[in-house]
Symmetry: C2
Subunit: 319 residues, 2 copies
């Protein structure tokens, strides 16, 4: 029994006799043999590993995307290395790790804009690349139409009859927040309204309850308090709802609130929001990555999801 035959059995080569195959399998099971991943990887020049680079871990959006990725990956025989940045600047370091030669074969990059320097590094690493919540013509991009989502959110409030509609964003402002603000401004101007924007400076990561709480406090203390607020993310909206409650204001009677994301708890906070298909985005990103791995010359593709408005009690309108 040569090592080559064993290798053939494990690689399902058709050129093995049925009885030898059975024998090898029996013995392998008996002694608990399984091929050595690294040796296999070196020999076939493929590691069966893909990596995901994520700006922050503790965020429901990323968790859901990650869950979609894992579920889609389970059907393949690729495993997933997760590189989470500890700080915003750390993204470069994590990317460098993910791009090390002989580490992984594919890269999923989340919410990380591709500048020229990064494009160069990605190209030279010769990995399959899929961008999620970011885009670049050279790579597969999977994103949500944040501008359209924000327009829908704002129109919903306008149509429901709210008069002074404010917007809470984050500072520093990442691309998705920028687009959501732009959508809000666009819809407001189109309706002849004056935008009213607030953000609280929360570093390093603005999408958090604290930032929503603080920004809402700022709005509450203003001379002309808004009667509705569109907030850049659900977690911030949760913080904002808390601020309203602390101030003794009722939702939606005194102030209506719309979030963005539709994270799990939002349903239980009765928060009107825009649903992003996070899980589906994760699944799709893996499917695209695997497709690129199987067919390296596959042209890049851009997939834009349009977020749906989910009406709940926080706007008092069940459209």
């Amino acid at each position: 029994m040569s090592i080559a035959t064993v290798s053939r059995v494990f690689n399902n080569s058709p050129r093995v006799a049925d009885d030898t195959r059975a024998r090898v399998e029996r013995v392998a099971r008996a002694m608990g043999y399984r091929p050595h991943a690294m040796a296999q990887g070196l020999a076939r020049r493929s590691t069966n590993l893909v990596s995901a680079v994520i700006p922050v871990l503790t965020n429901y959006f990323y968790m859901e995307v990650l869950r979609g990725m894992q579920d889609a990956l389970a059907a393949s025989d690729y495993d997933l290395i997760v590189y989470a940045a500890t700080t915003p600047e750390d993204i470069e370091g994590q990317l460098a790790r993910a791009l090390q030669r002989g580490r992984s074969e594919g890269l999923l990059m989340l919410s990380t804009p591709v500048n020229d320097e990064r494009r160069r590094r990605l190209a030279q690493a010769r990995q399959a690349v899929v961008l999620v919540d970011a885009q670049h013509p050279d790579f597969d991009s999977i994103l949500v139409d944040n501008v359209e989502g924000a327009v829908r959110a704002t129109r919903h409030l306008i149509e429901a009859g709210y008069q002074r509609i404010a917007h809470i964003t984050v500072y520093p402002e990442p691309p998705p927040a920028r687009d959501r603000r732009a959508g809000y401004e666009h819809a407001m101007h189109a309706a002849g309204r004056t935008p009213m924007i607030v953000a609280s400076d929360k570093r390093p990561y603005g999408f958090c309850e604290e930032s929503g709480y603080e920004a809402m406090r700022t709005l509450i203390e203003q001379e002309t308090r808004p009667d509705a607020v569109f907030i850049a993310s659900d977690v911030q909206a949760l913080g904002a709802l808390c601020a309203l409650q602390d101030a003794g204001l009722r939702v939606p009677e005194d102030v209506a609130v719309v979030g963005f994301d539709d994270i799990k708890v939002s349903a239980y906070a009765r928060l009107t929001t825009l649903r992003q298909p996070m899980y589906e985005m994760g699944v799709l990103s893996i499917n695209r990555l695997l497709a690129h791995l199987a067919q390296p010359d596959l042209p890049p593709q851009r997939h834009l999801f349009v977020p749906d408005l989910v009406c709940r009690a926080s706007t008092g309108v069940f459209a």
Copy 2:
């Protein structure tokens, strides 16, 4: 310039002349050379990879633990493969992947009880192992004293003067839920009270908003409604709070609520709960794993954290 010298430079061997080292480094940078991870791994019999096996991804507890792991790992040069089960039964499959020879050197197993079969498999895989939220004498175990936490929660309600204190758990009941129920029962009996336990059957994963919502509905509809409830997890408590609100009941005036975990949003839901040091547990688990990797004969150690009571408005007592 031989390949051996280059290798020495990259491995910081002292036996290289300063000028050759400088030359190698310059050229390497110029042509963007970095050692091939798989080849390196095969040669030194070490992959610089550790893996984490997680029952479910979408859970704030795991996310925080994972964040602690990632932060602690960033200082080392190990990368993390994440194996998330798609279903409860899938744990075995993910474990098998993580244990493949030549894949990773260390294993972090979360909330996964070690039975004899698993102990055998882990031992034979010769990996460093750290258990989180589970324990076994053969392996490092990092956990929280769920019984004590539940006792504290229950006592807090008793001391605050609540009369009919119910408990909401989950079904199927994982070890942490079992311990929390036990702690509740113990504290109730010690105070001469009669336990009153409800769970809603939510498969595959009971720690969710829905299950808390449903269980609370059951309690509300009972002839003698409880005036306080200790709930096995914060996410369930969030669902329960929603059920109370829908029923027009005030918290804590009509029903007081205590959760378990202290996830981020709980602060904004004004939920009294028991704080688990999730992030710290993640950091510690990696530190232990790296210690075992550095010193294979290190004896297993058990680390038990005691959860702290965090008093908020949902129990109306700010101790």
